[in-house]
Structures are given as C-alpha cells and as structure tokens.
Symmetry: C2
Subunit: 109 residues, 2 copies
Amino acid sequence: MADGPVVIFVDFANHDFSAERTEALKPMAEEIGRAPGFLWKIWTEDRQAGRAGGVYLFSSRALAETYVEAHRLRLAKRGVHEMVAEYRSINATLSAINHAPVGQLPSGQ
Amino acid sequence: MADGPVVIFVDFANHDFSAERTEALKPMAEEIGRAPGFLWKIWTEDRQAGRAGGVYLFSSRALAETYVEAHRLRLAKRGVHEMVAEYRSINATLSAINHAPVGQLPSGQ
C-alpha cells in the first residue's frame, strides 16, 4: 500500500454560520495548523444542509488519524457527537495533470 | 448566500487501481482540466474500501454542478451508476489561517 500524503473529508452537523462563530474559531484554526503532519485545511460549509467541516491534507495516514481522533474529542466537548471522516490516498500521476495542491509526490502513489 | 469557489468531494465504487488504469485515464484528466470553472482536482483512492473519486475546486457552484452532471454521465458510460457528490462552500477567513489552496477569496465568504 502506497504511503504518502492523505486527504481527509471531515463533516458534521452545524447550524451557526455567523461572523461571531468564525471569529471564535480563529484560535482553533491556529491550533489545528500546529498539528503534526498538517499541511492545509479548507474550512467547508453547507449552510442549507446545516453541515460544516473541512478538507485537509496531511503528510501521512497515521498523523491524519491522530488528528481526527483529537478533533473528534474536541468537537464532542462542543456538543458534536457525530462526525464523518473519510480518508483517501492520492493518485500522484493524475493529480499532477490537474494541478492538485499536494506538492511533489513520487509517481506510482 | 455567499457566492464564490466551491469544493466538491466525488466518490464512487472502483476496484481497479492498476498502473494501466492510471495510464488510461490520462486523457480524461486532460479533458477534466478544460472544464469551465475548473481550478484543480486531487485524484483520490481508497484501495481497501474500493472507492475512487476526487476533491475538486471550482470557481462557482453553478459550474461545479454542470461538471458533476457531465461526469455522472461519463461514469455511467463506464458502468458506474452510483456516484456521491458533496458540494461545500468555503469559509475564507478560517481557510486563510490554514494555508488552504483556494487562492485569494474575499473575506465574509
């Protein structure tokens, strides 16, 4: 099984999309940015469906899993007890053709 | 509702992860790259679960939807009749803190 960066799609129920929520989450974003293996996060929202979460790039599956479990606990403390986390590995060759923001990966991944 | 770039998470059943499949899909990647509003795609795989797909960035929801419907037809012709497509808008302020590869977005999105 190829090792290397992984994408995670994280998603949970959320109904507050206010500017105040964004402001309140800035320290959490700073903290997330310091997680081992963290490369980037797109903060995602579906206001109509009441879902929030993110798409992340981590340097390895193991570090992504460590992060997700910590994030699950952090969300549980905020009352969020259902969180979807989908892990995916990356096809480097095809992603390179499509300008994927994943850095230089060895091909064959 | 804020307009602007959207992320899509696309996912479907797939059981061929060979180098030959990657080679055969290069022309499709080139074609995808020419879709109106397309910004990038990470080609994703879950070999254990037998899932493939991608995370995409499109310049607008409308153009993303046009692409997804075309992609659904393209996959159906290849025998894939079940495709998940999750659309998400982007929180620009928090994404900027986490180095998200989404270009410069107006804040408030």
